[in-house]
């Protein structure tokens, strides 16, 4: 019998719609698997089994009664612990908000509810979405299902781990400097950071109002495209959402006539295995008929630093009261970053804000005829938590100085895209010799999500590069060793 949890999101939705499996069966399978994987992956902060099974039972009854059903009818999904539901806790991966009960429904959750999805619960995340590795001082870090010593990437760490391990058929993440793309890349799944303003942020915890985006994470690019279609679009509850029509990506077998930009300046610091995977991905795109052209982009370090200045200043501003009054309730790394944000000069922040539009114009002009850019997500194979968080976790001067360097290393190629506000799709392109995922990001013009999803789907179908199935239960003995 097929392992139900190895289905993709679209396969699961079709199986329910065609009554080959019930929502209760799928939900129960996900819940059982989540319990088995939780000691290893630590993907969930709260598994809401009772509520999920009740929702699934209602979905099955509605289908049996012939009622109209949405595209994700009865499909179990999960969400990062930063989206609000009335009467329910949204903890933001923190101690400070651990018992915070909300009174509104996040628009993305309302849209998933309307599409018929079943919500399995709240997923682990970096505290207050602040951290590119997935470190969480209060709940413990989510661990990469491919190797628990390895970082999941953050801040949507539980979302990446849960989808990779088959604990949910998709998950909502958020991305301010890479927080969807990093865990998608490091866990071997697909994830989309939409254009700034494309997906409503109403009812979502803020981190940096200039750069925060919500987006889908799922087993395949085709899943992400469908997920995006459900949650994207203007929202009167979010004044920053854009009233731009949402186009569905066109499925295509070939990429003839498509021009893809690559930037040699953004490929110079890759390790050997990552570089080889990107060369192979470029070859596959050419084989599909795409024309590859070199595009000269600004130095990612400059764009990344501007992104960091904006994000840290805005985050510090909204955390200012708690920084003073409850410093002991933050994890040390998060507190150190927030304190650093409090003393960034105001003129530097405003300069970084003012430079966004001209730099966006410059980058879009550099596209030339390119329909999309393909870039790395991270310059190395997924690193261990000890490598990334060890030095940055040290006390005092050494630790504080190590944090910006660690963040810059992890988010070197993701923060610049957040700063520009462009849409970006992360998807797998290969594996390291040790079996860890390697990914690329495809970056589009503003609001051209359909174009990059179309390229990503064609690449996915042609190469077969998508989420690989993991066993239904983790190998606890190997993990302990």
């Amino acid at each position: 019998m097929t392992d139900l949890c190895s289905l993709t999101l679209l396969e699961a939705a079709a199986a329910i719609r065609e009554r080959r499996v019930s929502s209760v069966e799928l939900t129960a399978a996900c819940l059982a698997r989540a319990e088995d994987w939780q000691p290893v992956a630590n993907a969930f902060i709260a598994i809401e089994a009772e509520t999920a099974l009740a929702t699934a039972a209602r979905a099955d009854a509605a289908l049996a009664a012939g009622e109209p059903v949405g595209p994700f009818h009865g499909v179990p999904l999960a969400h990062k612990d930063m989206l609000y539901r009335p009467g329910r806790v949204t903890g933001c991966g923190s101690r400070i908000r651990a018992a915070s009960v909300e009174s509104t429904t996040a628009t993305v959750l309302a849209r998933l509810d309307a599409a018929g999805a079943v919500d399995l619960g709240r997923l682990n995340m970096s505290e207050f979405a602040l951290g590119p590795t997935g470190l969480n001082h209060h709940h413990g870090r989510a661990r990469n299902p491919w190797d628990p010593a390895v970082v999941t990437g953050g801040s949507s760490s539980g979302s990446g781990a849960a989808v990779a391990a088959g604990l949910a058929f998709g998950a909502i993440g958020s991305d301010t400097g890479g927080s969807i793309r990093l865990p998608a890349a490091l866990c071997g799944i697909a994830g989309l950071k939409p254009t700034q303003g494309r997906v409503s942020r109403y009812g979502a915890m803020p981190l940096s109002f200039s750069q925060d985006c919500l987006g889908p994470m799922a087993p395949t690019v085709a899943d992400v495209a469908a997920f995006y279609g459900v949650i994207a679009g203007a929202d009167p509850l979010d004044p920053t959402s854009a009233a731009v029509p949402v186009d569905a990506p066109a499925p295509r077998e070939r990429l003839d006539g498509v021009t893809v930009g690559v930037s040699s300046g953004w490929l110079q610091d890759l390790d050997a295995e990552t570089a080889a995977a990107h060369e192979e991905a470029h070859r596959a795109l050419r084989d599909l008929g795409a024309s590859l052209v070199d595009v000269q982009l600004p130095d990612p370090l400059d764009l990344g630093e501007f992104s960091n200045i904006v994000a840290m200043t805005e985050a510090a501003a909204i955390h200012g009261d708690w920084i003073r009054e409850r410093p002991g309730d933050y994890g040390p790394q998060v507190l150190a970053r927030l304190r650093q944000g409090m003393v960034i000069p105001g003129a530097l922040y405003l300069r970084a804000i003012a430079m966004r539009a001209p730099l966006l114009e410059r980058v879009v002009a550099a596209y030339g005829k390119a329909d999309a850019l393909v870039l790395p997500v991270v310059p190395f194979v997924p690193p261990t938590s000890a490598d990334m968080d060890g030095a940055a976790g040290a006390a005092g001067v050494a630790g504080a100085a190590a944090i910006p360097q660690m963040v810059a290393a992890m988010a070197r190629y993701t923060r610049p895209i957040s700063y520009l506000g462009l849409p970006s799709l992360a998807q797998p392109i290969g594996r390291s010799q040790s079996g860890l995922p390697i990914a690329m990001q495809t970056v589009g013009r503003p609001f051209a999500e359909a174009a990059i999803l179309s390229v990503g789907m064609a690449y996915e179908v042609a190469t077969g590069q998508a989420r690989r199935a993991l066993p239904s239960k983790p190998d606890l003995a190997a993990t302990a060793a």
């Binding site: 254009t195 700034q196 303003g197 200039s210 920053t240 854009a242 731009v244 600004p298 130095d299 370090l301 400059d302 630093e305 200012g320 920084i323 003073r324 009054e325 410093p327 150190a336 304190r339 650093q340 409090m342 003393v343 960034i344 405003l350 300069r351 804000i353 003012a354 430079m355 966004r356 539009a357 001209p358 730099l359 966006l360 114009e361 410059r362 879009v364 006390a395 005092g396 001067v397 050494a398 630790g399 504080a400 100085a401 944090i403 910006p404 506000g421 013009r445 503003p446 609001f447 051209a448 174009a451």
Partner: protein, 71 residues
């Protein structure tokens, strides 16, 4: 530096950021100096003059630069 200035600065930082130990404060400033020296060591990013740039023009630029939109 005049010790009175250091004391006043320390007091202002504590009021702004909450009390922390000397190691944390030193770490904070080390990170800021590292950031500042990194920015100063790099060539300026050419953006054209920001003198008359509306700082909040980014959202409008995204809309204007979307494919199919009138430029």
């Amino acid at each position: 530096m005049d010790p009175r200035l250091i004391a006043a600065w320390t007091e202002a930082m504590s009021a702004l950021l909450g009390p922390a130990g000397p190691a944390e404060d030193a770490g904070l400033m080390a990170a800021q100096l590292d950031r500042a020296s990194g920015i100063l060591a790099r060539p300026p990013v050419p953006t054209g003059s920001l003198f008359e740039r509306e700082p909040s023009s980014h959202a409008a630029a995204l809309l204007r630069l979307a494919p199919g939109r009138p430029s």
